[in-house]
Amino acid sequence: MKKLKKNILRAAFVLCALFALLLGYGAYTVSVNSNRWFSSTLNVYARQKRQDVIPGRILDRSGVVLASSDGEGERVYPDDEALRRATVHAVGSSAFNMKSSAEYFYAAYLYGSRLSFPERLGYALKGEKYKGDDVVLTIDSALNAYAASLFPQDKKGAAVVMNYRTGEVLCLLSFPNFDPRNTSAAPSGASINRVTQSLMAPGSTFKIVTYASVLENMTDYQSRTFICGGQLQAGNRIITDAGTDLEAGKITQHGALTLREAFLKSCNNTFAQIALELGDAALRRTAESFGFNDNFLFRDLVVENSRYPTSNRTDGEIAWTGAGQSALAVSPLHMCMVASSIANDGTMMEPWMILEARTASGGTRASFSARQYRRPLNAAQAAVLKDAMRGVVTGGTGTAANLSGVKVCGKTGSAEIDGQEQTNAWFLGFLDEPASPYALAVVVEDAGGGGSVSAPIARQIFSWLLSHGY
């Protein structure tokens, strides 16, 4: 009987643990996910409630009103059409389900769900509609408008600028865009936010990750030279470099290279060899340390998860992966985070877009601050990559991004996409200046080489930032 009672106690411990697990997991999942759940397009309840609320305003970081409401609760946008178009993907429009826009993601604030009981009572007693909270974004609307003016007409693409020390997103552009005042004229696909929602091949910008994997796994890389013979047979695939045209008999060859030189020239051949030598598992581990295959659960910003293939792969696929092709899929924002982690001495910050929420009477409802996402590199490794990325801009494929007087670092990419005439032009870069900690990613789709198309846009954005006190 005594033993029985002891056993009962032990069993009771397990039963109580189950309850603790329920409460613990419940608290966890709600705190992590509830904003995501609330902003779901399936939230019929919130949509019905909007009729009783005058939505709060959406402001940029310097107080420019990007969206407000009239007395009926209808949205009012600023008079400048260029400004409206340049901020539409950050602000959102109620005409579309733009799930990573402020209009959706901060709906809980904008549409009055965070009102306290006394506030509700006050509105009810006065017989007024609820007034939602104002939301202040980290976005700089002037930067958005300027960057949008740099973008080539009629091209699809994306641009994002973030502070790599804090993760604040300053600029978020997606093309094609549309005018929120005239949503019926929006071209198809215009509501997609390419910065966060569009997954594409990173092309040569992924060589940053391959390089990082070398730093992690290959101890003797500094004493090694790699031979680029122009063509590399890997399994059933042939790795070639930009400029190669086999039918015309033209082959780009880089000859003998160090790793850094190969990075500066963005040599596919070398990075394919490296990928094969590292092996798929090691390369994937590094990619995953940068956030590939992770379920992004950021506080705000719904970001599509990046993919590094996990199934069994042929040598040809692995080789191309080292050079950033072959089933890799990543959003421009995530690549901007990759560049940011190099700039920020190996620490990747969580991207965020809401500075604070204010009550209708001007008080602070909630304010937010920087948060670390992960730490893919140590400071020494980050310094090696930083130096290599500086080399790309001073004497490699990215010289068009260079500015005199400041240290611009970067990496170009020209990603081949099936069914497209030209490559997607990528440029990742950052200012290696303590006073101006900004990183960016620019992608222009179907436009050509990253060095010639996107790097100049990046240079102008950097120069704008420096001349506007950033």
């Binding site: 399936l42 019929v44 309840y45």
Partner: protein, 421 residues
């Protein structure tokens, strides 16, 4: 003097008074909303049932009042939520509640007065196997599992009743040191449930047997072997049944299946997020409204807990979970005070069943584990479920009353100086 002091401090009375007021106001709110006379009626009747179930019942036999008041609160909460979801179901559930309280008293008497369980056990073992085989022969399939039978216009889930028999039989067999027989019986029940494809209930039976085996034998080896067997069965179930595969896929990412079976989980998340800490208010939400947009399918059954979170909020939801926890802790206390192995095992079994069932369904609701269709004890809609949950409380009351009787006897003897206290 001493009696008055103890009465004032009795937490069960405070709890009862509070829940009577809570439900009186709750139904009045619903009445203000819909203006139906049934709502006003329930505003009076439900507090009365609570009063009867908590304050009057203990006059029939020495009952555990705290356990009664907790149980009554949860049952009444079920009636309130169901009435809010669909008045017809709420009224039905009020009847189920009344019948359940009656069955609870019967079960309490059963445990209190039956001295020899041998004949009954043989009867129950036979009856259980027949009952579990019935749905396979004449049952109907619901949500992939074939576990219901219809008698006239009444439907019955035999596994809910057999659950009670299993608890009593295994307790008895184990108290007689017949572990092998109890394993055989439990195994046979599990096999029949697997054939019905009712994996949620199979999980409950399995957990129950495991807890009781451990408590009576103290053998971790046995538990380990059981767990290994269970894992094997789970893998087999996954390979054999398409609906298990589908459920697992939905569990991994319900957002991919919002056009189909993942919708209820996603709707439940959205409902929880809308509710926030304090809820949207009783009768003001949409999650329970199965016919309107945004409602959760099966809101009255598997997904009643998210509806509670939606309208009453997360804090209240946590309190509901704590109430289940207190019921379980109370059951453990009863088990530890009991004077015979059989009664101790019955009480532990009740604690185990209530815990497992609450855990399996709420964890399924919040995507901690894959969803399996078991009911939330005391709250989910359904006569069989309500009756079987209240029967468990009846068993506990029976054991508690015997414990108390033992203590009273001792005290009487001690007062007369007849024996050691």
């Amino acid at each position: 003097m001493a009696k008055n002091a103890s009465r004032r401090r009795d937490p069960a009375r405070g709890m009862m008074a509070a829940s009577m007021v809570f439900f009186f106001v709750g139904f009045l709110l619903l009445a203000a909303h819909d203006g139906e006379w049934q709502s006003f009626l329930l505003a009076l009747i439900v507090p009365l049932i609570i009063f009867g179930g908590t304050a009057l019942l203990p006059r029939l036999f020495p009952a555990d009042k705290l356990l009664l008041s907790l149980t009554n609160f949860l049952c009444a909460l079920g009636v309130l939520m169901l009435y809010r979801i669909s008045p017809q179901r709420g009224l039905n559930q009020a009847v189920n509640y009344g019948v359940g309280v009656g069955c609870m008293v019967l079960c309490a008497f059963l445990i209190r007065y039956v001295r020899s369980w041998k004949a009954l056990t043989i009867l129950m073992v036979g009856g259980s196997l027949v009952l579990l085989a019935l749905p396979l022969l004449i049952g109907t399939e619901q949500n992939g599992a074939k576990n219901w039978i219809w008698i006239g216009s009444y439907s019955l889930q035999p596994s809910e009743i057999v659950k009670l028999a299993l608890l009593l039989c295994v307790s008895f067999l184990l108290s007689q040191k017949k572990a092998l027989l109890s394993i055989l019986f439990g195994g046979a029940c599990l096999a029949l449930l697997m054939l019905q494809k009712d994996l949620g209930t199979a999980l409950l039976y399995f957990g129950l047997c495991l807890v009781m085996l451990y408590v009576s034998t103290g053998s971790l080896l046995l538990v380990g072997a059981g767990l290994a067997g269970g894992a094997g069965a789970a893998v087999m179930g996954y390979q054999m049944f398409a609906h298990v595969k589908a459920r697992l896929a939905i569990w991994q990412d319900p957002w991919q299946y919002t056009q189909g079976a993942g919708l209820q989980l996603v709707r439940s998340f959205v409902a929880i997020a809308n509710g926030g800490l304090w809820g949207v208010g009783l009768g003001l939400g949409n999650a329970g409204n199965t016919t309107r947009a945004g409602g959760i399918p099966e809101a009255y059954n598997d997904f009643i807990y998210p509806v509670i979170l939606h309208e009453f909020g997360l804090i209240f939801g946590a309190v509901v979970i704590l109430m289940y926890l207190f019921i379980v802790i109370r059951a453990i206390m009863i088990a530890r005070r009991s004077t015979s192995v059989f009664h101790a095992l019955v009480s532990v079994g009740c604690a185990g069943l209530i815990t497992l069932q609450t855990f399996v369904i709420i964890a399924g609701n919040i995507k901690l584990i894959p969803l399996t269709g078991v009911t939330l004890p005391f709250i989910s809609y359904g006569g069989t479920s309500m009756v079987s949950s209240l029967c468990l409380i009846g068993f506990l009351q029976g054991v508690a009353s015997r414990n108390k009787a033992g203590v009273d006897q001792d005290r009487a003897l001690a007062m007369h100086g007849g024996g050691a206290p």
